[in-house]
Each structure stands twice: as C-alpha cells, then as structure tokens.
Amino acid sequence: MTHGISRRAVLRAALGAGIASPLLAGCGALTPASGKPGALSVHTQLSGAVAGARVFADAVAAYERRTSRTVALLKNGSDLPIVFETSSLAGAEADVALVNLQGRTLSWTGLGATIPVTGLLDDWGLREQIIPEAVAEWTDGSGNVRAFPFTRTNWPVSFNTRLLEQAGVGIPTTSDDLIVAAEALRAKGIGPVTVGGSDWSGQKLFLQIIQGFLTAEESKRVFASGKLSESAGALAGVEHFVELRDAGVFIDNVQGYTSDSELTQFNTGKAAIVPAMSSALAKVPADRAREVVVGGWPKPSRGGVLDHPSVIRSYNGHGIWISENGAKKLDLVQPFVQYLYSDEVTDAMILGSGRDMSRVTDTLSTDFPLVAQASRLTSAQVSPVMLPDLIIPQSAFEPMIQATATAYGPVSVERIVDVFEKAYATA
C-alpha cells in the first residue's frame, strides 16, 4: 500500500536533510584537527609498530608545542598510497605524505598528485643537508625530485651465531657454505633462513639472489623489462635460487610466511638467518641482538659477479611528499619540513629508533647495535646490490610479488620465469 506525500512528511524530510548536511559536511576533513585554520595535515607510514613511529610522533608534538601550530597526523601502513589516492581524487588529501617510493607512488609526481620539490630543495636550504645520492635516487627521468628523501635503508642479513655454533657451523659466506649450514641447522631442529615468502620481503631476497649473476647495468635492464628469459645472468640467478630452495636453505612452508612472521621466527630463535632491513634490525630484542652478527647474503660459489656476500643498499626509505593541497600552503609546509631535517630530529630518529637517515650526519646509532653494525659494513666485506623498486614498472610491482611468492613453492625454473614475465604483461 502506498501513501501520498503529506505536508508533515515534507517537513520531516527537510528537517532530516538539515540535520544530515552538517554531519556529512563534518566528514570533509581528513581528521578533526586538520580542519582547523592554519593546521597542517601529515599522512605518514611512520606509524604503529614501525621503527621510528614513536620518535616521529614525539618530534611532531614538540613542533606543535614550540610553534603553537597544529599538525594533524593521519596514519596508515602499506595501505597509505591507496588512501592517499582516494582522498586525492576527492581533493581532500593530506598536505604532506611520508611514504616510500615504490609501485604506485612512482607515478604521483608525473600525474600531478604531488609537486616536484626540485626548486624547494634550494629555496629551503635543504640540498646541502641531504646526501646527494639520495637526491639522485629520488629524481625521476624528467629531472624532477619527487620528494624530500627522509629515511634510507640497509638490507643486510642477520646471523644468529649461537644457533650456528649449536649446529657446528660458522657464518656462511658462499652458497655452498649456506647449504651445509642449512643441513646442520635442520639436523638440530633449527630453521635455516626465514623470510616472508608471500610478500615484499621474499621478493627483495629473490631479486637480491638473482643479482648475484647480474651486473648493475644488466640488473636495470632486466628489472625494467622483466625479460628474465633474455638474460643469461638472470636465468643463472633463477637456477641458483632454485638450487638453494631445493637444498632446504629456507624454512619449511616459507611460501606462506610474511615479513612479520620472519622476524618472529628469528627473534624467537626458531630460525638462524634472516635478511632484514635496518628498520627491522632496530626491533630485534637486545638479548637476541647480542647473539647476532650482521653480514651479507652468501655469494654464489660458482659463477656470479660478486666479490663478497651481497647487501641491498638504498636511499629509498620514506620521502616527504607535498600534495596539491600542501602546495597551496607552502608557508606552513616549509618550517615543518625544515624542522624534520634539523639536527634535533635527525639525532632523535637515529638514536631513538635506529633509523638510517638520508640527511648528512655523523651521528651513529648506539642503542641499536645491529643497525650500527649494518652501517659499518665496508666494501671489503660486502658487495652492495640495488633495490630495484625504482626500476620495476608500477603496474608490475605488485603482480611481481605474487610471482616471487610462487618461486618459493615447489616449481621449476621455467615456471618461475614464466610467472615473473607475466607479471610485466600490463606494464
């Protein structure tokens, strides 16, 4: 049964709309604080349990107290880029974003979601304060610096010497040593190498192992095109990976583990070896850290291009990006960014959280011995290899992680090459 519209119904509808409108309008701001006049909104991946999150939040709070300005922090993890993009479509994105340069963020500056900071580096007096290699790494093909490089990373391999001694082996520096160590560890019921086979941490190790057979130039070519089958070095790298995998170098069911579970395995002494970036090393408990020596991934015993075990080194940590909204209030953004590059904040990040920073500094981590060990590794001990995140096309980045996850399962070299190349299909 239906009813006609009465005058009372119209009145109720109008009243409802009147109440709903201000409520919906309240949803416009990203956070309640960011709606205040003169406030700056900062969208950060330095949040939660991430190394440096607390120090960063404290630094922002200190800035607010000192300047009486509001800085609204909006926090996300690996999902930050998608949240930023959706809010950007609505024109409601944060003024500043602290996020890695990889995958979808590679296209932000080109698409106008964020502004290049090339000129601002000089205007704000930051060029001399930032390591030149970091600026170079954050510069796109058109010469635009995408964002201010803030944190950087070392990606060494951690070895639990107590567990290795228990198994009667030393720190492996070659692939043959690693296979012997894995057998000895397994015989003692200890997991050998733990890694997040299902996520980006497994992807990084896979690419690092392949680079044992690729020169820097060849690596760039292969990771840009994805054509493993057209590179003899890349194919040798994949064969080497399969040889290690089939020799039981990785823990059982490695294909299903994540970056979180790899650290849990290592920190609880269930596995003896973990490739982990410096921010993760900062989270290794002190009693475990005393047993750990930091080094590189064992170099191939036969063939290969490396002189020493390999370490990924990159300036691609978090960058400070300025959005279109932020570009409208550079007067508020400038002092905040300059503050983040002050000695005070840099020292706090290094000493308080063990982060490696892209700012020029002599400060070395003291309370995070593994981070300090990693930054002291010399070219006589390890051979640096690249973090290919900047070279992998945006559309291939995430599909490749699924492809490398497949590689940790019981599949052939041909199958790995096939799924890897298919990940580039839409690139």
Partner: protein, 321 residues
C-alpha cells in the same frame, strides 16, 4: 520395510496436513482492465527516499561496475580509456583467475553444504528445547557479533605455527603444520573460519523457522515411532526447505562475495594462489595492483556467477510440499 513405509507415509500425510493447515489469505482480485488508480495511490510516497537511496547506492555501483569492466584504468589517478572486451580476454587468459575460480568453487562446493547441514542439525537440536536452549541460541549467535578482524585475530592465534591448535596436537606428535602457510591446508583453514562464522548464525535463522512447526505434528510422528533423525529429515527439512533455501542463498553470497576479508586478513591469497578467491582477486586487482578494469571484469563475472548460483539453489531447495 513395511513399517518403514507406513511411518514414511504417516509423516508425509502429517506434513500435508501441516501445509494445508497453514492457510493463506485469498489474493485480492486484480483491478479491471483499463481501470486506473489515482496518481496519489500509485505514487510511492514514503518509499521514495528508500527507492532513491537504492537507485543511487545499489543500482549505481552495478552500472559503474559494468562500465569500469570495459575500461582500461591502470590507477585511480590515471585518466581511463575504453578497452572493449580486452579486460575479459586478459581475465580468461590469466591463470590466477582460474586458480581463484577453482578455490571459490571448492569453497562453495565443500563449505556451503557442510555449513547448511550442520546449521540445520543444530537448529533441530535447539528447537527440541533441551536444557539451556535459550542460552544456546545466544551462544550460537555470538560469531555473528564478532567483527571480521577480531575473528581473524582469534584464528591467527589458533592456526599460527606456535598457535593453540599445534599446542593441542603437540602431545600426540602431530604438531608442526603451518596451517595458514602450507599450500595444502591454507584453503581448508579459510573454509574452517567461514564455517565457524556461519554455522551458528544460520542455525539461529533456521531454528526461527523450525519453531513454527506445530508441536502436535511432531508429537504424532513420535507416537507413530519416528526417531529424531527421521523427524529432522522427513518432517522439519521438507517443511523448512524453502526457508533453508533462503539461508543457503545468503551464505552462498557471503562466501562468494565476502571471503575477501578473511583471505586478506589471514593469508593475502597465498601461499602462491592457494587461497586467492574470486572476491579477493577483485580486491587485489583494484586496490593492490591498481588494475581497475581487470578487477571489475572479474567483478562482473562474479556477479553473473552469483545470479546463476542463486538460481541453482532456488531450484534445488524450492518448497516441496
């Protein structure tokens, strides 16, 4: 044999009585051809806001899904272009899609019947009003009151390598399986989580329908010698069959469309593609890989599969008395 037949015919007769007892009002005669009701009566009135809401937020997204399925749209910040049928071509040529379709099929074919049968048996038990049956109804409903992330946390604690399940199995020497990380157990673990979430909820719904069965009929069947099993499947099931069909449809849609959240929270589709379901593939392609056209092409296929599945369930579980 004869006794069995006699019991069977008695039960059938009783259900027939029950169905005929549930009289339905005579439908009002249709309006005479050519007669027009006044505009005031035909106007939806208070239903209008709901219809507008439905049109904007229900039909709108379906239309958007169809449109996006035909676009090349590699990222939300990128200007989309027309792609024709190429997204569907890519989907059908992609082994990840077929792996996801296989996983969804296993999920439905294995998980759904188990869920509905167990829910029906639980509901039957509850309507017998055993001691504490009221409390039991609340307990059965509890999984429906727990959010997906909280459920995932609970099951992560149970299924992780050092979790509760391996702790229970350890004394028997059966521990050591990484339930969520092992390709041979991960999909089973996801189905188990969905069964846990869905059985109690479905049981409460089905019990509400079974409560409507007249106790005199059940009593008469018992006097005739029918046991619990026969009463459950020979009386309650046929009477509640169409309603169970509705519950099955709801759980089918939930499994088909909402499994993405459980997969995302527990396995992210891995190991490899072992737990990638179609709905998770839609999520992953849209929000992780930013391939929006591909994602919505899968969404459209999923939409059609949902319609076909609902039709099949309706056909299998339509009223039979």
């Amino acid at each position: 044999m004869r006794a069995g037949l006699r019991k069977g015919s008695t039960v059938t007769a009783l259900t027939d009585v029950a169905s005929s007892a549930a009289t339905t009002p005579e439908p009002s005669p249709p309006p005479a051809r050519g007669a027009r009701t006044p505009l005031r009566e035909r106007f939806p009135g208070f239903a209008l806001p709901a219809l507008v809401w439905y049109a904007v937020f229900m039909i709108g997204p379906v239309v958007a899904m169809v449109v996006i399925g035909f676009l090349s749209w590699p990222g939300m910040l990128v200007e989309p272009g027309f792609a024709g049928l190429s997204n569907f071509g890519r989907v059908l040529a992609d082994e990840k899609f077929w792996a996801a379709a296989g996983n969804s099929a296993v999920q439905i074919v294995v998980g759904l019947p188990v869920m509905i049968v167990l829910a029906f048996l639980l509901a039957f038990y509850v309507v017998q009003k055993p001691r504490g049956h009221r409390v039991m109804r609340y307990l059965l409903f509890i999984p429906a009151l727990i959010s997906a992330p909280a459920t995932a946390m609970v099951f992560y604690a149970i299924l992780n390598p050092d979790g509760l399940l391996n702790g229970v199995l350890r004394p028997f020497g059966l521990d050591g399986t990484a339930w969520l990380a092992n390709p041979s157990t991960a999909l089973g673990a996801i189905i188990a989580v969905e069964l846990w979430s869905g059985i109690g909820y479905s049981a409460v719904l089905i019990a509400a329908r079974l409560d409507g069965v007249a106790p005199e009929i059940v009593q008469a069947a018992r006097i005739d010698g029918a046991g619990d099993w026969r009463i459950a499947w020979g009386m309650y099931w046929p009477i509640a069959r169409d309603f169970i069909g509705v519950v099955t449809m709801l759980q089918f849609l939930s499994m088909l469309f909402n499994s993405a959240q459980t997969v995302l929270l527990l396995t992210q589709g891995g190991p490899g593609t072992s737990t990638t379901t179609l709905s998770y593939l839609v999520y992953r392609k849209a929000f992780v890989e930013t391939d929006l056209g591909y994602s919505q092409a899968v969404g459209l296929i999923l939409f059609v599969l949902g319609l076909l599945g609902m039709g099949a369930i309706r056909r299998v579980l339509r009223a039979s008395h």
